[in-house]
């Protein structure tokens, strides 16, 4: 395992940035406007029916779940101040925090937990995370502040699946008769004001927030500025106070310029690019051809070209020092060996393949194309929009797709989704099937001893590294920039602003 020096330097710079040099007393008040890099701030305002990172960040300001992530992405109690797990792993009992008020003024009680979890489980709600909680047999209200969740069978990743705004606890009175939500109510530091024209999400300070004096801001406004250049101008002119996704090509000059006029955060990210191969049909049903791709890839070059050296190269999503980090060598490029493997597979004269991607990842696809072509492939590129590509991926009708994925709190989320048929259609698009891997993943779910689980995942990891159905290309950095008067802004490992120790609740404006 090696990290690029730039990555290490960036990580250090980010760590320095996170330490406030002067401890100032936070001031109350003010409106903070956040320019997000997508065309919409959030895909809907119902916390149980959400998609996408931007949505999670925005909605996490008003919706909270039983559990949360801390700054290092460990699971910590939240609306439940403690929990216990029965010895057989079947019953999870949560003690709720007392005195937590919903934005409508009513106190949150165990009945609300039952209502919220059952709403997510109801297919009519159409929650994309329903499957995460499918293992629940029933939710039992023991008293106002105690709730027991009974599982159908022991399921080690269960706690991780309860974290986050998609499992937010909401009051039943905030749901319309038809099951939709038009004015979401939660327990978060900010309360929903309105979602103007489906464009600007306006959130106001919740005076009765359960965590002491937080938050400091009176109002937070999320507004979409999808155009890169327009986003930078909006930050410089003060139209917005903070932006996500600073364009990579600007990073080298911005990092070097101390007088740029705003704070800049460049931190190791969790979003990774991958090259998914269709293992259900030739040529990628042959493991040798997939290994040839794995060896033909120059990940360092991809990372340098796409992130200007601010990303990093790795073969797994957990950092050095993390419990779930697997032991493994990073694959090194070996074009000669890749050619040999291709020849062994009967493609000594070259192999025609099509690499598909949507516009967001087309630059990645082009670099992959040129690297593969140096090793005897004859790759062509096809671009389509997400809806069209998703349909072909679902039907396993493609050669190779270059796409992206993110971080998972539990290794089950990462490995079961990509390497077993129960994974989502567009992650399991490669159709990789390996009875040994499936059995190991199944066992790991039932295994409650973390060390024993880890050993099982190490075996899964080694197998899929060798079989190479979807090699990781590189990790993109998290980049954000904000004006000097925005204080105590810190982001988490995922580049979001919603976890327990950081997040917008702590931000204040020095003005």
């Amino acid at each position: 395992m090696k990290l690029t020096s730039l990555f290490a330097a960036t990580a250090l710079g980010c760590a320095l940035l996170a330490v406030p040099l002067v401890a100032d007393t936070p001031k109350r008040g003010g409106t903070m406007t956040i320019g997000v890099s997508s065309t919409t701030v959030t895909n809907g305002i119902d916390p149980h029916v959400i998609l996408g990172d931007n949505t999670v960040w925005a909605l996490s300001q008003f919706g909270e779940g039983l559990l949360h992530f801390d700054g290092s992405m460990n699971i910590v109690p939240w609306l439940a101040h403690s929990y216990s797990i029965s010895d057989d792993g079947l019953v999870y009992t949560f003690e709720l925090e007392r005195g937590v008020k919903f934005h409508n003024g009513r106190e949150m009680v165990a009945e609300d937990v039952k209502f919220s979890l059952e709403r997510i489980l109801d297919p009519a709600t159409a929650s994309r995370r329903r499957q995460n909680l499918e293992i629940i047999d029933r939710v039992e209200v023991i008293d106002d502040y105690t709730v027991a969740i009974h599982l159908q069978s022991a399921f080690a990743p269960f706690l991780a699946n309860l974290v986050g705004v998609w499992a937010a606890i909401i009051p039943s009175e905030s749901v319309n008769a038809d099951g939709s939500i038009t004015h979401p109510v939660g327990t978060g530091p900010f309360q929903f004001n309105n979602y103007d024209l489906g464009e600007r999400l306006v959130l106001d300070r919740f005076d009765d927030y359960w965590r002491g004096d937080l938050p400091y801001l009176d109002r937070v406004v999320f507004t979409p500025v999808s155009d890169e250049a327009a986003r930078m101008v909006a930050l410089r002119t003060g139209a917005v106070d903070l932006i996500t996704a600073v364009p990579s090509q600007l990073l080298p000059s911005l990092m070097a310029n101390q007088n740029r006029g705003f704070e800049l955060l460049v931190a190791p990210g969790t979003s990774w690019r991958m090259a998914t191969m269709n293992t259900t049909r030739p040529p990628f049903d042959d493991v040798r051809v997939r290994q040839a791709v794995d060896l033909a890839l120059d990940r360092e070059e991809l990372m340098l070209a796409r992130t200007f050296g601010f990303g990093h190269v790795d073969n797994q999503i957990w950092d050095e020092g993390s419990f779930w980090r697997m032991e493994a060598e990073l694959p090194q490029r070996d074009v000669a060996r890749a050619r040999e493997l291709l020849a062994e597979a009967g493609h000594a004269d070259g192999l025609d393949i099509t690499i598909e991607a949507r516009s967001l990842y087309i630059d990645d696809a082009q670099i992959v194309q040129s690297q593969l072509n140096e090793a005897g492939f004859r790759a062509t590129i096809a671009m389509s929009d997400w809806a069209a590509l998703a349909e072909r991926m679902r039907a396993h009708n493609f050669d190779m797709v270059v796409a992206a994925a993110g971080w998972y709190a539990d290794p089950d989320g990462r490995y079961a989704r990509f390497y077993t048929p129960e994974g989502p259609a567009n992650f399991y698009a490669g159709g990789y099937e390996n009875a040994e891997v499936s059995a190991l993943l199944d066992e790991a779910r039932r295994q409650t001893d973390p060390a024993a689980r880890r050993a099982l995942y190490q075996q899964v990891f080694d197998t899929v590294q060798r079989d190479a159905p979807n090699p990781i290309l590189y990790f993109a950095p998290n980049t954000m920039a904000w004006r000097h008067h925005v204080r105590d802004f810190r982001t988490d490992r995922q580049g979001g602003f919603s976890n327990a120790e950081t997040g917008l609740a702590f931000v204040w404006l020095d003005q």
Partner: protein
């Protein structure tokens, strides 16, 4: 004229019917479906997908789906967006005035530039003012709209600090702030339209200036100002108005890039997002409204011919 207008409106009915069938068929022929988008990247769940298909009637045969949509539309029900679950009519009505405002302001900018530029170019044909105006017009046609918009933002927002770089404020809320927000997007869109119009007005003016009636007018001693300002200009306006009408329709739909750069909540972006999301009822609703507006604008154009040229009979 009333009869003419009524007949034109009646002609709209088969146009819209054929259009809706075409759009509906195209939507279902294009690869991709709303369920994949609704589930999002990294999720799929047969149970939820079936529930969604049922909720939006996607499990029924296509002719039934179309018939349901059509009968609902006839009773004024545009349906709800699959993605945001908001009523489609509400989504369109919220955004349509914004787009109309931007389109009107752009048309004003375009005319304010192209009328004087086109007239001067024609009057000084093949002389310095003509070359100057045509060079600017050529540049205007060649420069990509979105790039010009960014340049305007850099100059007026970042360096001079005169105008806001993005965003929309309702004129009902704060008229002057709204106008400030309107200027840059309107100039961005308007200049692109002005470039074409300038060339057109110039050509029409030159054509008209060589007509017999101009010679007659000059012979009977009419002032050049009256000849150009009243007679020639009015005749030159007929094709110009036609082009404005066609381009105005384009402004309504084609403003997408400008709307993206300036975060302007218009109907263009609504439509493009709907296409990416395969939000079938929303796409159909937007296309329907856009078609009605397009036909209406061209009706106004046709009626205005009668004013510009009394010989034109509207029947």
């Amino acid at each position: 004229m009333l009869k003419y207008t009524l007949r034109r409106l009646l002609q709209l009915v088969p146009v819209l019917l054929i259009l809706s069938v075409l759009v509906f068929s195209l939507l279902h022929m294009v690869p991709g479906n709303p369920i994949d988008v609704l589930m999002g990247e990294g999720h799929s769940d047969p149970v939820v997908e079936a529930a969604l298909r049922e909720r939006y009637g996607l499990d029924r045969p296509l002719p039934v789906q179309y018939w349901t949509w059509l009968t609902n539309i006839l009773s004024g029900d545009f349906g709800t967006s699959m993605y945001s679950r908001e009523p489609i009519l509400k989504l369109i009505l919220e955004r349509f005035p914004n787009t109309l405002l931007l389109a009107l302001a752009s048309a004003v900018v375009a005319l304010a530039i192209s009328l004087p530029a086109g007239i001067i170019a024609a009057l000084y044909q093949n002389r310095l003012p003509d070359f100057g105006a045509m060079a600017v017009a050529l540049a205007g046609i060649s420069i990509p709209n979105f790039w010009f918009g960014i340049l305007l933002v850099l100059l007026f927002s970042q360096y001079l600090g005169w105008l806001p770089s993005m965003g929309y404020v309702s004129p009902a809320e704060d008229f002057w702030t709204a106008m400030k927000h309107l200027i840059l997007p309107a100039v961005t869109l308007g200049t692109a339209m002005a470039a074409n119009l300038t060339r057109l007005i110039r050509a029409e003016m030159i054509e008209q200036l060589s007509q017999d009636y101009v010679r007659t007018a000059r012979a009977k001693g009419l002032g050049e100002r009256v000849i150009v300002g009243v007679h020639v200009l009015k005749n030159a306006m007929i094709p110009t108005v036609t082009i404005i009408g066609i381009q105005f329709g384009g402004l309504l739909e084609g403003a997408v890039l400008t709307e993206v750069i300036f975060a302007w909540p218009g109907i263009g972006r609504l439509a493009v997002d709907a296409v990416y999301e395969r939000d079938y009822p929303l796409i159909q609703g937007v296309v329907l409204v856009a078609a009605i507006v397009y036909v209406a604008v061209n009706l106004i154009v046709d009626i205005s011919y009668r004013y510009l040229d009394p010989r034109v009979k509207l029947d």
